[in-house]
Symmetry: C2
Subunit: 261 residues, 2 copies
């Protein structure tokens, strides 16, 4: 493309940061200082799990993944879209960042579909079908900083629990028609590590080929694999830059692991 | 004023309707059928009280009014801004109404101030200081149906529990610079009743003078007095029409009690 698109940062912030008030406060101060356009997507953290426990809701797990029954859906919607989202929006507003909290159904921004119950029924879990990038980009051009909670709805109005990493990726891909998007996954590690016990062993660049090698050699495992697959899919579908870094390094362009084609 | 303002309906929907799924469903279907611009403000209902009870949070009451401590603030934010707000937004979207859920801090729409702790400390309760009517009217002109939960924040980013009736009134007054506003309080009664035991004894019109007479004679009492004071203040500060009616009568222009100067 020959025309120049405005820059946009899409930033995913994980549960570990949300669970740490001083880290979250520092992160939001950093976010508020970024002059360019930003979209924030936050995860859930431990609050939902604790709340479910206090309410006596037993979370069923299948293959290590939580099943979202009706009671759990109510808890995650309350915690993610209510408490976490509005607390972050209010704090950003206090720091003079014009934040606006969203879930999928708000302004019809993200439409999902209940995951097929076969072979495994995960309950009220949604897979994203469509992002209304036109409406979302209008909010961004008006100067708002959208803050998304990982809750969406289907066309029939059922709320659905949605993976925040995937939501960040889908939003980044859709907005790449309107912006030069940098997608940053902020988490508790300094980046993708070649030695999980050494915080300084950050792999500075990963591409499709090196990812396959890292996977084969067992250097990246478990939770990091879907994160990197998400990142590589984003790059392959038009997102300009994808980065994985510690939340405290969100302002540092050289920090963390950079993903390229 | 000589210029003609576009019409806007601001509709407050009370907790009794929210607690009744079939009544709420019918109400949202009615709302979705209204062709003109709408702003919805919802109350809380019993869910927050039940949730607080389940979580073992003891609500302290002073003079029959609830004190919002930190634990209660978290519960009302979760229930009002999370579960109720997003459920309503998703249902309206399914009915092809382009709803967007808001609390005070979203887009800096409603700024409040923590209520003075003397003579009575009600805790994290907010009194509205400012409504950003310009930003809100832009959303309405873009075709969105704002749906407000009764949670606001102060300038320091503290979330505050806020009276939904007062929020509806403050929003209606502020938007009267941009719209010819009809404010409708939907509740479980057919209107203001001259005999509380007779649902058909609706007083069709009330103005400032007749309100004072009704109050003096003891015909309107308790919960109805602040509702009518809210309504009369709205009329005196530029709101075109104020109505109190049953939720099922929201489409009936002749139903309920009409408030005039």
């Amino acid at each position: 493309m020959s025309h120049i698109l405005p820059k946009l940062q899409v930033i995913k912030i994980g549960g570990n940061v949300i669970d740490n008030p001083s880290l979250l406060e520092a992160f939001l101060t950093d976010i508020a200082s970024i002059p360019e356009a930003i979209v924030l997507i936050h995860g859930g953290g431990k609050i939902a799990t604790e709340m479910a426990k206090e309410l006596g809701i037993n979370s069923q797990m299948i293959d290590g993944r939580r099943v979202t029954d009706s009671a759990s859906l109510r808890v995650v919607t309350m915690v993610y879209a209510g408490w976490i989202n509005k607390s972050m929006v209010a704090q950003l507003q206090a720091k003079h960042k014009n934040a606006i909290g969203f879930t999928g159904p708000d302004a019809g921004l993200v439409i999902s579909k209940k995951r097929n119950p076969t072979p495994i029924d995960y309950g009220w879990v949604g897979d994203i079908e469509h992002v209304n990038a036109q409406a979302l980009s209008t909010f961004i051009h008006q100067g708002y900083c959208p803050v998304f909670a990982p809750i969406t709805a289907d066309k029939q109005g059922h709320l659905l629990n949605t993976n925040a990493d995937t939501m960040a990726q889908a939003i980044s891909i859709a907005l790449s028609d309107f912006f030069e998007v940098t997608l940053t996954y902020c988490f508790e590690k300094n980046g993708v590590l070649s030695n999980p016990d050494d915080d300084n062993s950050v792999i500075s660049h990963i591409n499709q080929n090196s990812f396959l090698e890292l996977k084969e050699s067992g250097i990246v495992t478990a939770g990091m694999i879907p994160k990197l697959e998400n990142a590589l899919k984003a790059i392959s579908q038009g997102v300009h830059t994808v980065k994985l870094c510690h939340a405290s390094q969100v302002l540092n362009p050289g920090g963390g692991t950079l993903i390229s084609v």
